[in-house]
Amino acid sequence: MARMNMIQALNSAMDVMLGRDPGVVVLGEDVGYFGGVFRTTDGLQRKYGEHRVLDSPISELGIVGTSIGMAVNGLRPVAEIQFADYIYPGYDQIVSELARLRYRSAGDFYAPVTIRTPCGGGIRGGQTHSQSPEAIFAHVCGVKVVMPSNPHDAKGLLIAAIEDDDPVIFLEPKRLYNGPFDGDPAKPAVPWSSHPRGEVPEGHYTVPIGKAQVVQAGRDVTVVAYGTMVHVAEAAARSLDIDAEIIDLRTIAPLDTDTLCESVCRTGRCLIVHEATRFGGFGGEISATIQEQCFWHLQAPIGRVAGWDTPYPHAFEWEYFPGQKRVAMALKAIMSAS
C-alpha cells in the first residue's frame, strides 16, 4: 500500500497497464513530454517512450477518431481529453462510431478505448473548465461511463476500464485530484494522505465497473451521489445528525440498480445529488429507476440536488456549486415529509 492523491493513483494505473500490456498506448494534448496539464501522465513518456505515450495535435476529433483506429488494429488506447468541456469536437466519433462499432459490425469490430477527462468545478475555471457532461454520455448506448470519488477507486476503475473490451468514458472530478472536498471552499484543503481511500495498492488491481459502493450505511434515507458530491453529501448528512446511507455510484452507465434499489426500498427515502445541471441530468434516470422499483416503499418524494440550469459562472462559483447547505436543505425536506 502507498499513499497517493488521485493524480498519482491515475498515473499509477496507466503505469501498471503500460508495463503489463504492450498494446496500451496513452495519447492526448500535452500528455507526453510535459506529462499533462494536471501532471497525470507525468514520467510515462520517459519510461515507455514516444511511441507509447504520444503528444497529440490539438484535435479532440482526431484523438478519438485515431484511438478508434488504433483500437481496431489491436491496441488499447487511453486517450486524454484535456478538459471534459473540450470533448465536444470528438462527440460524433464517440456517439456515432465508438459506441456503435460492435453493434453495427455484429461484434466483428470493437474498440476498447478509454477516454479520460477531468470534469467538474470548484477550481474557478469558469464555464469552459467546470462542466460535468456525464448525462450526455450516459444517454448513448454502447459506452460505459465512470466517475471515481477517491484515489483507490480511481486507480482500480481505470485499470478495469483499460482492460474492458468496451469503450469507457472515464470522468475525473478535478476538484478531488489533490484531496477530498466537502463543498466548503473556506476550509483549508485536506490532502488525500489523511483519508482512508488515499491508501492505494501499488500494483495491479481492479474495481469493478458497474458496481456502486455503500460508503456509509444508514437507515433513515439513501443519498445517491458520485464524484465530488459523495464528499459533500457525507458532510451534509453529518451536519444534520441523521442516519443516512450514502451510495457512491462510481459507475454511471451501466447503472447498479440492485444496490440502489435495495437501499431505497429499505430506507424509504432518497436524495440524489450531482454537480451537473439538473434538467435532463442523470438524476432523472436514477429517480425514474427508483420510482419504478421502490414505489410502494417510498415515504417521501425522491429529491434531487444539482447544479442550476445555467452555464457554470466564474464569479458565482459557490452560489452555483451544490454545496452542503443545498444538500442539507433537501435532506431536511425529505426527512420531514411523511
Binding site: E29, D30, P57, D85
Partner: protein, 413 residues
C-alpha cells in the same frame, strides 16, 4: 527478411528542450524585401511562393524595404508603437495582479503584439474581428477603455460578462469584436459565416479571425477553409504561429514538413507567410488581404511567424518544456523594439520619448486599475448580484430558472 522495410511511427521532436541550447535553425527565413507583392486579385493557386516564403519589410538596419513597404505616415507608426507598448504594459500589470490574487487567471500576448495591433490598424472599424484569447491588442487599437477590460478580469460589478466568463474572454459588440470562447478554433468558421453574411447583404465589410497554430489542428479549421473557399468569403484567416501550444511545438500541429500558410493554396485559398514581429509587414499583408476580400478576390490565409514569449497562461510554467533562453535567441526579435528602432532611424522617435511614453502608459494603466478596483475585486468590495446567474440563458427566463433563482435566494437566506 532481415532488411525488409518496416513502417515506423514518426514523432516530431522540438529542436530543444530544457537544458538544451535554443535552436531555431528549423525556421525558414528570408531577408526583408525578398518577396514580390502580387496584384491583390492574383489567383490563389499562384500564392505558394508567398505561402512558403516570408514577407518582411524591416531589415537589420531598421530600414523599410521592398515591394511590401506600406509607406505609412510616421504618426501611424507612432500610434502603432503606442498601442503595442500599452498592450505590453497592460499585460505585465495584469499578470502581477493575478500573482497577488486579485484576479483568478491571465494570459499575456508578450512578443506577439504586432499581430493584433498592426492588423486592427490596417482594417476598418466596420470590419468584424473574431479573436482568440491572445489578441488584446485589438482592444487597444479600437479604443475600449482599459477600465472595462479590467472590470471583466475582476468579475466585478462592472464586468461586461456579468461574472460569467473566465478573465480575458472579452467581447465588444459596439467595437465589432466578437465574444471570445474558451473552446479553441470555434471562431474560425464563425468568421467565415459573418463574412458570407456581409456578402449576402452586399456590404463591403470584411471579417478577420485568429487562431494559434496548435488550434489549427481542430476540425473547425478545415470547415472554415472549405466554406471560405466555396463562397469566396471576404475574410482574413490568421494563424498565429507562436511556435508553442502549451508544451507542444509547432511540429506537433503540422508545421514540420510544411508551413501553415501553405495549407491555403491546397484549399484554393491565397496563403501568405509573414514575419509576425514586423509591424510594417503585418500591416502591409493585412491591407493586401483586406483589399483582396473587398474587391471580391475571396479569403486569405495568413500565417504570422512569431514567438510566445510569455507562459501559456498564469497556470503554466514553460521552463518545464522549453529552454529558458529561447526568446533571447528568437531570430525575428521583439516587435516593439523593432518598430521603435525603425522610427528612431527615421528621425521620428528617440529613446527619451520612448521612456516618457512608457511612463505615461504605466500611469494610465495604474490609474485605470485604481478605478476598476473601486467596482470590486474577486475577493473584496462590491459583488455582482448572484441573481444575474440566471439571466441570459434565454432571452426570457423560463419557469424552471425562475424557480431555481428563488431556491438560491432561500439558500442564501
Amino acid at each position: 527478411m532481415a532488411n525488409r522495410p518496416r513502417t515506423r511511427l514518426h514523432v516530431p521532436q522540438p529542436p530543444a528542450r530544457p537544458g538544451d541550447r535554443a535552436d531555431f535553425s528549423y525556421l525558414k527565413l528570408q531577408p526583408a524585401g525578398a518577396q514580390p507583392r502580387p496584384d491583390v486579385k492574383v489567383s490563389a493557386l499562384a500564392t505558394p511562393p508567398l505561402a512558403t516564403g516570408l514577407v518582411r519589410v524591416l531589415d537589420d538596419e531598421h530600414r523599410a524595404v521592398g515591394e511590401w513597404h506600406p509607406h505609412l505616415e510616421p504618426e501611424v507608426l507612432q500610434a502603432g508603437l503606442r498601442h503595442m507598448l500599452l498592450t505590453r504594459i497592460f499585460d505585465e500589470r495584469m499578470q502581477r495582479t493575478q500573482r497577488q490574487g486579485r484576479i483568478s487567471f491571465y494570459m499575456r500576448s508578450l512578443g506577439e503584439e504586432a499581430v493584433s495591433v498592426a492588423q486592427a490598424m490596417a482594417l476598418r472599424p466596420g470590419d468584424m474581428l473574431f479573436p482568440s484569447y491572445r489578441n488584446q491588442g485589438l482592444y487597444m487599437v479600437r479604443g475600449r477603455p482599459l477600465v472595462d477590460l479590467m472590470c471583466q478580469l475582476l468579475s466585478n460589478t462592472r464586468d461586461m460578462c456579468k461574472g460569467r466568463q473566465l478573465p480575458v474572454m472579452y467581447h465588444w459588440r459596439k467595437g465589432n469584436i466578437f465574444s471570445i470562447s474558451g473552446n479553441l478554433a470555434t471562431q474560425f468558421p464563425q468568421a467565415v459565416g459573418w463574412a458570407m453574411a456581409a456578402a449576402i447583404k452586399g456590404e463591403d465589410h470584411v471579417a478577420s479571425t485568429w487562431i494559434g497554430e496548435g488550434s489549427s489542428a481542430e476540425g473547425d479549421f478545415h470547415a472554415g477553409m472549405v466554406f471560405a473557399e466555396v463562397y469566396q468569403a471576404p475574410v482574413l484567416l490568421n494563424i498565429v504561429n507562436n511556435q508553442w501550444a502549451i508544451s507542444t511545438f509547432q511540429g506537433t500541429a503540422g508545421g514540420e514538413k510544411s508551413t501553415f500558410a501553405a495549407r491555403g493554396p491546397g484549399y484554393g485559398v491565397a496563403g501568405i507567410r509573414v514575419d509576425g514581429n514586423d509591424f510594417l509587414a503585418v500591416h502591409a499583408v493585412t491591407q493586401w488581404a483586406a483589399e483582396r476580400a473587398r474587391k471580391g478576390g475571396g479569403p486569405t490565409l495568413i500565417e504570422h511567424v512569431t514567438y510566445r514569449a510569455s507562459a501559456h497562461s498564469t497556470s503554466d510554467d514553460p521552463s518545464r518544456y522549453r529552454p529558458k533562453d529561447e526568446y533571447e535567441r528568437w531570430p525575428l526579435g521583439d516587435p516593439v523594439q523593432r518598430l521603435k528602432m525603425h522610427l528612431i532611424a527615421l528621425g521620428k522617435w528617440s529613446e527619451d520619448r520612448h521612456a516618457a511614453l512608457a511612463r505615461e502608459l504605466e500611469e494610465e494603466v495604474a490609474a485605470a486599475w485604481r478605478e476598476a478596483t473601486q467596482h470590486g475585486t474577486l475577493t473584496e468590495g462590491p459583488r455582482l448580484d448572484p441573481d444575474l446567474m440566471f439571466e441570459d440563458v434565454f432571452k426570457e427566463m423560463p419557469q424552471h430558472l425562475l424557480r431555481q433563482r428563488e431556491q438560491l435566494r432561500a439558500e442564501r437566506g
